[in-house]
Structure formats: C-alpha cells, structure tokens
Symmetry: C2
Subunit: 211 residues, 2 copies
DNA sequence: GGTTAAACGTGATAAAAATCTCATAACGCC
DNA sequence: GGCGTTATGAGATTTTTATCACGTTTAACC
C-alpha cells in the first residue's frame, strides 16, 4: 500500500514514476499482467532494475520475492503519489499552434488535468473553438481564474508577453505554471514553474547530427 | 576561440549552452553588449557562475579577468560547437496538431534546422499545406529520404505506429530522430534519439499541485 | 517438507553534477 | 607605473544520481 512518505520526491524520480506508470498502463492494456518484476520494467524502459526498486520503495511499494510487484497496486500507488486521481483544472493561455495541440491532446484527463478555458489576445481567434473551448479575451483571464479558483496556467504565448501574463495569473491565485515559452519566469516562492523548452532538444540534435 | 575538444559534451552541458546562447542572443538584441561576465549570465538564468565558466571552458572559451567574456565570441563558439551554422534538413512525420505547431515554428532555422517535407497517413491531409510544405503520403517517405539524403526525422505520430516508421526511416538512412511520441524507440547504435515527452511534465505539475 | 532459483531490499560504491575556495590575472584609478 | 578591485580558472569538496553486491524472502519443484 502506498504509505505517505513526507520526503519530497525529486524530479528525476517523478519522471521515472511517470514512465513506469505509462508503460504499465499500456502493457496491461495489451496483455493484462497481475504482477511485474523490476527486471521486466527495467528491460522495457532501459533503466537499472535497482533503480526501479528504489523508486518503488520511495513511494512505499513493497514487492514479493520471486514474484515482483502487483501491477494494479503499483499503478494505484503512482496515481496516488502523483495525484492523478485528484482532478484539477487548468487554463490555457495562447491559442496558437502549440496551444491548440495541447488543448486537443485528450490524454491529459487521465492524469487529472482538465483544460477548462482558453485565452488569446488575437481578436480573430476570440470566440472560435479550440478543442471544445471557446477562446476568450485576455481581459477575461483574471476574473475567470478568480471565479473558478484555477490553480494551473499553461503558457504558450510569445516570449515577450509571458512574464506580464504570469504576474497577472499569479496575482489571481494560480499556483503552478506550465511554461512552453522560452523564457525564465520570475514567480513568488510558493508558485511552481515547470519549463518545457522544445528548443533545448535542438541543441542535442544538432550536436549529434554534426559531430 | 572555440577549439575543438574531442571530449563528448554531456546532455546537461549542451542544454545549458543552448540557454546561454538564447539569452545572449536576445539580450544583445535588446541592448548590445560587447562583453558579459559569468555572474551576469548566472544571475539571469539562475545557475551558478562557476557552472557558466566551466561550461564555457568545456567549449574552449577563455574569459578575461575583470572583464568577462566577449559576447560575440561566446555566441560564435556555441554556434560552432552545437553546429547551428551547418544547415541540415529534417522531415516531419505526422501532420497533426503538434506536427503543425512544430512546422509552423520558424525559430528552428536559426539553429540550422530546416523542415523540408511533411508526411501523414491521413488521406484528407495529403496535398494540403502545413507551414509551406505540401503534406505527402507515407508511401513517399522512404524514397524522399533516400533521394534527398535526409538525416533527421521528427516524429509526431500516434504511439502505435512510431516504431514501424522509425524502422523505415532508419533503413532509408536517417541518423537522428526527434521523438515527440510517448514511446521508447529501438534503433541501431549509430542512430541518435532525442525523446520529448510532454506528459513527463505532468508528473511534476500534478505532484506539486496536489501536495 | 526441504531445496533451489528468482526476485526483492538495502547498504556500499562509483559516477556525475554542482558548488566552494582561492590563487592569478587584468583593468581602472590615482 | 603601482595598487586595489573584480572576474576568471582550476583544484577540492559536496551533493546528487546511478550501479553494484549481497543477504533475505518466497514460490515452485521434487
């Protein structure tokens, strides 16, 4: 059973947990397994088996000798620790290509996230629908967040305006920002920012391609 | 001057170099600086000044006491090491939302990457234009790669078909894959894969939001 | 039931990454 | 030109992350 260990989990661990979870979900979908061993997971995901056991240990999972771990229990523990079962609502700021792509991606729901509103500055976009959400004017942003108690903002705007928008949503009560903008944001210490910079990937690609 | 050090640079270093480069490019755009100190960069990007100097040292940059580093020289060295000045062509596989977003992003050119063709399975999309490229049938994929000597494939297809597509493009000569699919790909050792999994970000977001 | 093989849990170890400390060098000022 | 200030560069240290090694547990098999 997942016991609540108060020690904060590190980012690398969270990401690995996510990968275990995804693999378990889809592999059980293909062929339901009752149990799984750390070696199987390690093999499939190209990590060390010890790593898997350590990570599982960190979220309170214990396996059985000779058998391994119960798949459904592992999934449950990860869902619990990562908070996938608690629904939370996010607003999407910026209805450009990337914003639309994110809004259209319907896989978020299974991780608890629901995108409930989309905002953009472009008058031509306002009123149009993006993945079921009517695009609203930026003026509506702050009131909306206040009213619906939104805690997550997903940012896909041009870099120039991102800091200003962040200040606004933070002052409205947002506690986490998923930043797809190539900008380092300044926020109060109680606000969490996750940066997602695709262009970082280019550094590695270009480097390996040119070598 | 950027001297060619044969030691392979690690991923973290490459990514930081990219961040330095981006910041330097845009900050010189705002207000041209002739020189910059490691402390200034560190301050702006929230890293340790020593780290900056170490990274610079790794690409052969030397600074001057009391002055710092010459901006244009730093930029040049990073461009050189990361290979931004060598143009390379990539094909985009999958013209969905994310694919369109990537194709439309015109920032890649300044890092050397040009997306020269787009492929999709969906008959309704074939022939339509995505960011200036006519979407082609998947059947044309392999011949195209062969003919134009393409070395990079950007993958934004559904997870189920990604491995099969990878096998095809690799057999056609592709040497690097930028994978936006939530799948671990198997490739020969001489092919480089960079995985870009947005859903990993969700693990951290959900965790922090729920805590 | 006892034996064996397979998998776990964990403390020790190694590797990698980040940070600290400080001697050295260069510019600006008098 | 000498002196103080400031930034670099490199070695030492710490922290984090990953891997190894091994004793323990548990199901399967005779």
């Amino acid at each position: 059973m997942a016991k609540d260990d108060s020690a904060r989990l590190r980012r690398v661990v969270l990401e690995r947990l996510m990968r275990y979870y995804r693999w378990l979900s889809e592999s059980t979908f293909r062929k339901p397994l009752r149990t799984v061993t750390s070696a199987q997971i390690a093999e499939a995901l190209d990590v060390d088996p010890t790593q898997v056991r350590k990570d599982f240990g960190a979220v309170g999972l214990v396996g059985m000798g000779r058998v391994g771990f119960e798949v459904c229990e592992v999934c449950r523990a990860i869902r619990y620790v990562l908070g996938f079962d608690q629904r939370y609502e996010g607003v999407l700021i910026g209805a450009g290509h990337l914003g639309s792509a994110l809004a259209a991606y319907n896989g978020f729901a299974s991780y608890g996230l629901e995108i409930v509103a989309v905002f953009d500055n472009d008058k031509r976009k306002i009123g149009s629908k993006v993945a079921g959400c009517a695009v609203q004017s930026m003026r509506a942003l702050k009131p909306y967040i206040r009213k619906h108690n939104i805690r997550l903002a997903i940012l896909t705007t041009p870099a120039e305006v991102s800091q200003e928008l962040v200040d606004r949503v933070v002052s409205a009560g947002v506690k986490a920002i998923w930043n797809f903008t190539p900008t380092r944001l300044t926020v109060p210490p109680d606000v969490f920012v996750r940066n997602e910079h695709i262009s970082l990937g280019l550094s590695e690609i270009a480097y390996h391609l040119v070598k």
